[in-house]
């Protein structure tokens, strides 16, 4: 999936959070699942589930994704709110299609330790920055710094 589509997901989730919408759907792709999983781990969203275009699947129904029904498959995300305020306040792309930030392992370490790298501002406490590795694997910035790997900085989410 391209950065454009990831941008659509970011803005869609952010818009839904501002309008206090409890449930939304995003495309059922590998990258969107990865991003949603990281958001869930960091506590920005409360639940993820598979579903159709109309509604999320019930726990009792285990619908297989096939080539016949892939067009109607969606990933449903439950947004989180505290005191009527969205937990996912800002969710934006860092790299854009016209300006991609490929950071080395040293730069990623610097970014995670509180330094600004090129135009990217340093990571704040409670902020999630996602990095895409060469093998298309998406990991957290802290994990990337720990494993001494570099990659494309995708997006950042904060309250």
């Amino acid at each position: 999936m391209s950065l454009v589509k990831l941008g659509y997901i970011c803005s869609h989730l952010q818009n839904c959070a501002t309008r206090r919408i409890p449930l939304t759907s995003i495309p059922y792709t590998r990258q969107s699942i990865n991003v949603a999983l990281h958001l869930y781990k960091e506590g920005f969203i409360s639940a993820i589930s598979k579903g159709s275009v109309v509604r999320p699947d019930l726990p009792s129904e285990n619908i297989e994704v096939t080539f016949d029904n892939i067009a109607t498959r969606k990933l449903w995300v439950t947004l989180k709110y505290r005191d009527n305020q969205p937990v996912l306040g800002k969710f934006r792309l860092v790299s854009t299609p016209s300006q991609k930030f490929f950071l080395s392992d040293v730069e990623i370490k610097a970014l995670s330790s509180g330094l600004s790298v090129r135009k990217i501002k340093p990571q704040q406490p409670g902020e999630l920055i996602l990095v895409q590795l060469e093998d298309k694997k998406i990991i957290d910035l802290q994990e990337a710094a720990k494993n001494n790997v570099g990659g494309l900085v995708l997006c950042r989410a904060r309250t």
Binding site: R30, L37, I48, K50, T66, F67
Partner: protein
């Protein structure tokens, strides 16, 4: 006193003291490993009154406990000796009491230690037996080829979606069915196309009857085209039509539509074309020999029981 005991079913009344453990701390060394990536980093100083190392819970081996709490007197005293008898009676009793207390405590400690060790041993044996049972069960399952998937018993996790391919590939049978469906759809569309073509061709054929081919027909057509209609007759026709519509209360357009619908229905029923000619389907049936077979069957039925036909005709 006795009455009171009877009253409460020979149970002592009042609040009993809490049952305390004989050993305050565990008597066995607690085996614990440090969890990786926890505690303080190398360069980070740790706060006061705390350690960098893992704090294990206190443990005192029974030997040490006995050595600390049940110390023997420095001088060994024989209770049957003359020296002991020479002591004052109060001291003698004191010494004897101390001895019995020491003996009882030692006995209690040793008994408790044995109990605990036995318990641990029993647990270990239980685990070994369980493992043996599991091994045997696994062997049996392998023999009987009974495999239970763990994943099938639980709901799939989100991370499990990413492990395999996102979309399940079609099986060979499914591929075959899909190909058959596609082929059938293509053939059906071809058939519809050919049927439409045949119908249009037939219509053209019927219309060709009015085409001008000969010289005589051409003359006739020209005369018809340039013929001046009689105005009187036309006016009469219009008046007549208006009378009919006003009297019946039905407009001319509806009447015309009704005529068209009725003509179509009759055509469908009889299998004829607009100009009372055979339809395309009828021709195809004739060509394939379907109508001939039908006719033959009807003839046979007629010969078998002609009475039913007569009865129907009379009704």
């Amino acid at each position: 006193m006795v009455n009171k005991l009877v009253k409460y079913g020979f149970k002592p009344s009042g609040v009993l003291p809490e049952a305390r453990k004989i050993f305050k701390h565990s008597i066995i060394h607690p085996k614990r490993q440090e969890i990786p990536d926890t505690g303080y980093a190398k360069d980070v100083p740790h706060p006061k009154n705390s350690t960098r190392n893992l704090i294990l819970p206190k443990y005192t081996p029974v030997k040490k406990l006995i050595a600390n709490t049940i110390k023997n007197p420095k001088k060994k005293i024989d209770f049957n000796s003359k020296q002991f008898r020479s002591f004052p009676k109060v001291q003698q009793v004191k010494l004897k009491k101390a001895k019995t207390r020491r003996d009882y405590l030692l006995e209690a400690y040793t008994n408790e230690e044995q109990k605990i060790l036995q318990k641990i041993e029993a647990e270990k044996q239980k685990e070994v037996l369980l493992q043996q049972k599991r091994k045997e069960q696994r062997k049996l399952d392998m023999k009987n080829q009974v495999f239970v998937k763990k994943n099938s018993l639980t709901l799939p996790t989100i991370s499990s979606f990413l492990k395999g391919p996102l979309v399940r590939r079609r099986t060979e049978d499914e591929k075959k069915i899909l190909m058959m469906k596609k082929k059938a759809n293509y053939n059906n569309s071809l058939l519809i196309k050919k049927e439409n073509q045949a119908e249009r061709l037939l219509e053209l054929y019927y219309k060709s009857k009015d085409f001008v081919i000969t010289e005589e027909k051409l003359k006739e057509k020209i005369e018809k085209a340039f013929e001046i209609p009689a105005q009187r007759n036309q006016r009469f026709n219009l008046e007549q039509q208006l009378d009919v519509t006003l009297n019946s209360g039905v407009s001319m357009f509806i009447d015309q539509n009704y005529k068209n619908v009725s003509n179509n229905a009759v055509d469908k029923l009889l299998g004829t074309h607009k100009n009372a000619f055979p339809d395309a389907d009828q021709i195809i049936d004739e060509y394939n020999g379907v109508s001939k077979n039908l006719y033959q069957k009807a003839q046979k039925n007629l010969k078998k029981n002609p009475s039913t036909v007569d009865a129907k005709l009379s009704v």
